[in-house]
């Protein structure tokens, strides 16, 4: 990839950001590439030393606060005409509840996801608590001379303890997965606003 391709690619990947900021970043990376070349690197080596466009773009997007991106995105390209403003105001009772509803639906889906994780933990904790309870009850069974009752409870207790150990790893994995997913969703929402409209 040559310098021009790299800088054009970066410009496209960041198209949703404020224009001055995009220009400033392109100038910065352009200068870096030129300096690599001045030190004796070939153009393609210089570009490769900087990294891939996707990698750099996603790092930049991850660093920029989402409010800034959305603000830039919803900023109209030209000033609104009078009838458009009137339409927006008159349409308010219609579009506002729709926006709120859409947001609420997405939020509730996200909450459902976390409640699944929380319920998994609840199962884990209850298993973890009931294992010693079963074992304690089995001791009571043995003391009272009821061997079969005691053995059965002891078996149950050990079985539950085993399952709870397994489930613990599942719970940890589910929690980590959800956190990773949250980060991905945040990045996804940001890039939705940033990618150039095609």
């Amino acid at each position: 990839m040559n310098k021009e391709e790299f800088l054009n690619g970066l410009g496209n990947a960041l198209a949703g950001l404020p224009q001055d900021e995009v220009n400033e970043r392109i100038a910065f990376y352009g200068e870096m590439i030129d300096d690599h070349i001045e030190e004796g690197a070939s153009e393609s080596d210089a570009v490769a030393a900087i990294g891939s466009v996707e990698e750099i773009a996603s790092q930049i997007i991850a660093e920029i606060p989402i409010t800034k991106i959305v603000k830039e995105r919803i900023k109209p390209k030209r000033s609104l005409r009078a009838w458009e403003i009137i339409l927006i105001i008159l349409g308010f009772p219609l579009w506002f509840p729709l926006v709120v509803a859409a947001f609420a639906v997405l939020l509730s889906l996200y909450i459902v996801l976390w409640s699944l994780v929380i319920s998994l933990w609840a199962v884990e904790i209850s298993l973890w608590a009931s294992a010693p309870a079963c074992i304690a009850a089995s001791v009571v069974g043995f003391v009272h001379g009821n061997i079969f009752f005691g053995l059965m409870l002891l078996g149950c207790g050990l079985f539950i303890a085993g399952i709870s150990i397994f489930l613990f790893f599942g719970c940890v994995a589910a929690t980590k997965g959800t956190v990773t997913l949250t980060k991905k969703i945040a990045l996804g929402i940001k890039s939705m606003f940033i990618k150039k409209e095609s």
Binding site: F28, Y29, E31, D35, G51, I56, Q59
Partner: protein, 105 residues
């Protein structure tokens, strides 16, 4: 390394890289390389943050028929380096304490 800690350290590193003479992006990375690896994107963020904090100023100058941005440290930037030096004594004493706790085990 902890992100907050690293961020603070990198800020001071970049300030130190421009402390004695004005420098530009490529040179800053090259000068820091023996001590700490820094990617271009990270440097951009740091320079921006330091500029907003008035710890450095930027000027664009022509070099070899193209434009290059040079960064100059301000008094606030120099003060930050001094601050870091005195803070560091504290960090070193914390480090000694942590290491001492380890050796008791």
């Amino acid at each position: 390394m902890d992100i907050q800690l690293k961020r603070g350290l990198l800020d001071v590193c970049v300030l130190a890289a421009i402390k004695n003479e004005d420098s530009y992006g490529y040179k800053i990375i090259k000068d820091m390389k023996p001590y700490i690896e820094l990617s271009e994107s990270t440097l951009y963020t740091i320079l921006k943050r330091l500029e907003i904090a008035n710890m450095l100023t930027v000027r664009t100058a022509e070099h070899d028929g193209r434009l290059r941005k040079y960064y100059r440290i301000t008094d606030a930037g120099l003060r930050r380096i001094e601050e870091f030096k005195s803070e560091w004594k504290e960090v070193v004493s914390i480090y000694r304490f942590v290491v001492k706790e380890d050796s008791h085990e």
